[in-house]
Amino acid sequence: MATKTAYYLPHKASHPIFGSIGLFTLLAGFSNYLNGSPAGATMMWVGAAILIYMLFGWFGTVIRESVAGEYNDQVDASFRMGMIWFIASEVFFFAAFFGALHYARMYSVPWLGGEGSALGVETHQYLWNTFESVWPTNGPAHIGGKEGGHFEAMSAWGIPAINTLILLSSGGTVTWAHWGLLAGNRGQLIKGLIVTVALGLLFVALQAFEYHEAYTEMGLTLGTGIYGSTFFMLTGFHGLHVTIGAIILAVVLLRSLKGHFSPEHHFAFEAAAWYWHFVDVVWLGLFIFVYWL
């Protein structure tokens, strides 16, 4: 499809400004909501609607240009590099939360329990001298949890293990779909994508079920000390990314049904697959460090 020799340069971009207005409205609305202003929630929805409108418009334009053959191989390479570095930035976003988990488990909780050098001993002695360093914990003041601050930790070998299998399989099915695309086998491409999206949705559903259990049965909430904080922020942001990834894959599925991709030219598919693998790898980190160890 690479018909043009010159690098494609768009000459007018009307979507970005809507993106800015949308994001601004969304976040100003959220701030007002958090400050208890009644207009906040409405503002948020308006902002979100503008943002969604912008995304449809922007991606729609790019898809139309791609189908029209405006993008040569060099443009394709720009998109690829752009996506790779975008994913790299996402990795660092998760790194902040993994870093917090690591710090809590290796430093702050042991120090509160009196371990380590003079630092830990004194912290323990003067702050909470009855606190024992254990993991999981909701801290010396037993913040959150059920009566008396008790809560149950999430075991790795129930739903999380099943979810690991689901997500790893979905990584396999998306690769299988890619093989179909490369071989010009559209049936395999579409089947592979349908199964991948379905597995993604199943993952999210099971995760929602797990959250429900945590909140209603286990006394485990976002407010359950440092364990609840790290647990829900890590798995929550991951779940959000799985949801986004599934939406991207669903769009790619629709485009596959329309025959947008050829064995040579299918950046959108690969970008979606890379994103999906990234989400997969983050989950492995979560499974090991949040659920298992």
């Binding site: 800015s20 959220f30 590099m81 440092i226």
Partner: protein, 529 residues
């Protein structure tokens, strides 16, 4: 060669769109570069005005002009605006203008994204500035926003946090664009080791930003959830730790200071060879030194936290790692000096600012080295010594590099020579007043004056008065700079030729283009020798 030959298509004209909407919808790297630069200039004025409020209050001991809460807001917003609104957008503007021209590319690789990364900025700043009019005032816990203090912020807290998110997204998108442009859009024959040093320093900077901006976003998100959603990240009672915030923040914050200074190194490495009429001394060592500084910036963060109670192993590691940075930085300083050695030098305004940069930035570097030693830092910590240190690396450092860059490239951008007499006047007023402002702060710090407090003991009065006088001269001297720029934009002054500076053709592709360059450049890739 000329791979992308002029088979150019018919569907676009070659000039800018008409009317004001041109600037809203533009995808042209020069337009976007201009938008960034003008925004940065406005932000410098706003942030500078806040600095003058601070200095006016500190002119004498006692409280005279503003209440301490507002003083703290000014200190906080001055820093946030100068960093995120002044220096970073200014360098991104230079990158937008110059990188495609320097590497022989027709534009930035992702022009629509480029538009968005700029147009996020004004919205981020509106969100931030609006906090000044809210219940409880603007954020006042310092730009580092340490909990638990920052959690006492009033209605401003979520607005401040979300403005940081927006500015962070903008920086990440700009960095992605710069990396992709350099790696995918170079003219044939423009190998990596032929890139102008400004481009090299920007690549490293962009990598740093991709790594640190998301960490800052995550960290301030934790502040938000600690305040509004009951998490315990920074609450020891729940098993967290306020010090965790400091580690996360400075994992961002230390590379961030290199984000501010590496492109300055790049500018200085462009300016000095031009006016010394020699190629840059030790080009490849400059590239490796930049990369080393980039790497080291990730393993020194806790030198900002020596007094917070770290295990002794940590204090030692961060002391030694920090001192290591002096090595690649020294390589750079020696290379700049060697470039000037036996050069046929002339001293136009850009060169004056570049030389002042080398001298004064090095002084800022030395005070940094003093504070890298953790036992010594116990004395300097949170005093005016650190204020003097980072203003020496940021004002006669980063800001002087921006002045040098502006005078150096302004004739290329506008096609008009700036007024050299006014440039020299601006330089001397600025260079003298910056020292009057910040040099006495070293003494204040060593004598024990704490930072971020609106009042002080009487024995500090004299140096503070000097510092305030210097600050006001510095502030008003910048009006000359603004006037010089406005004159050039209005097309007043002598016409500049293509080369602008004698022999500059040897120093970069930008000097082979007309002044000002046409709206689209390098639609056909240039030949690289």
């Amino acid at each position: 060669m000329s791979a992308a030959a002029a088979t150019h298509d018919e569907h676009h004209d070659h000039g800018p769109a008409r009317g004001l909407m041109r600037w809203v919808f533009t995808t042209n790297h020069k337009d976007i570069g201009t938008l960034y630069l003008i925004t940065a200039l406005i932000m410098f004025m706003v942030g500078g005005a806040m600095a003058l409020v601070i200095r006016a209050e500190l002119f004498q001991p006692g409280l005279q002009l503003v209440d301490p809460m507002f003083f703290n807001s000014m200190a906080t917003l001055h820093a946030l605006i100068m960093i995120f609104g002044g220096v970073m957008p200014a360098f991104t503007g230079l990158a937008n203008w110059m990188i495609p021209i320097m590497i022989g590319a027709p534009d930035m690789a992702l022009p629509r994204l480029n538009n968005w990364s700029f147009w996020l900025l004004p919205f981020g700043f509106v969100l931030l500035a609006s906090t000044l009019f809210m219940e409880g005032g603007g954020p006042a816990a310092g730009w580092t926003m340490y909990p638990p203090l920052v959690l006492q912020t009033g209605a401003a807290l979520p607005f401040t946090i979300f403005s940081i998110h927006i500015l962070g997204i903008s920086s990440i998108l700009a960095s992605i664009n710069i990396i992709v442009t350099v790696f995918n859009m170079r003219a044939p024959g423009m190998s990596l080791m032929k890139l102008p040093l400004f481009v090299w320093t920007w690549i490293i900077t962009a990598f740093l930003m991709i790594a640190i901006m998301p960490v800052l976003a995550g960290t301030v998100t934790m502040l938000l959830t600690d305040k509004f959603f009951g998490t315990s990240f920074f609450n020891a009672a729940g098993g967290g730790d306020p010090v965790l915030y400091q580690h996360l923040f400075w994992f961002f914050g230390h590379p961030e200071v290199y984000v501010l200074i590496l492109p300055s190194f790049g500018v200085i490495s462009q300016v000095i060879p031009t006016f010394a009429r020699k190629p840059l001394f030790g080009y490849s060592s400059m590239v490796y030194a930049t990369a080393s500084i980039g790497f080291l910036s990730f393993i020194v963060w806790a030198h900002h936290q020596y007094t917070v109670g770290m295990p002794i192993e940590g204090e030692l590691f961060f002391t030694y790692a920090t001192m290591l940075i002096a090595v690649p930085t020294g390589v750079k300083v020696f290379n700049w000096v060697s470039t000037m050695w036996k050069g046929a030098m002339t001293f136009e305004t850009p060169m004056l600012f570049a030389i002042a940069f080398v001298v004064l930035f090095t002084m800022g570097g030395f005070t940094g080295l003093m504070m890298s030693i953790s036992p010594a830092d116990l004395q300097y910590h949170d005093t005016y010594f650190i204020v003097a240190h980072f203003h020496y690396v940021l004002v006669p450092g980063a800001v002087f590099a921006l002045f040098a860059a502006t005078y150096y490239w302004l004739p290329k951008w506008t096609g008009r020579m700036y007024d050299e007499r006014l440039g020299q006047l601006h330089f001397w007023l600025t260079a003298i007043s910056v020292n009057v402002t910040f040099f006495p702060q070293h003494f204040l710090g060593l004598a024990g004056m704490p930072r971020r407090i609106a009042d002080y003991a009487v024995q500090f009065a004299e140096f503070n008065a000097w510092s305030t006088v210097g600050a006001f001269v510095f502030g008003f001297a910048q009006l000359i700079f603004v006037y010089v720029i406005i004159k050039a934009i209005r097309g007043e002054g002598e016409k500049a030729n293509d080369e602008v500076w004698e022999g500059a053709r040897e120093h970069g592709l930008e000097w082979t283009l007309p002044s000002p360059p046409p709206y689209h450049t390098w639609e056909t890739a240039p030949e690289i020798h």
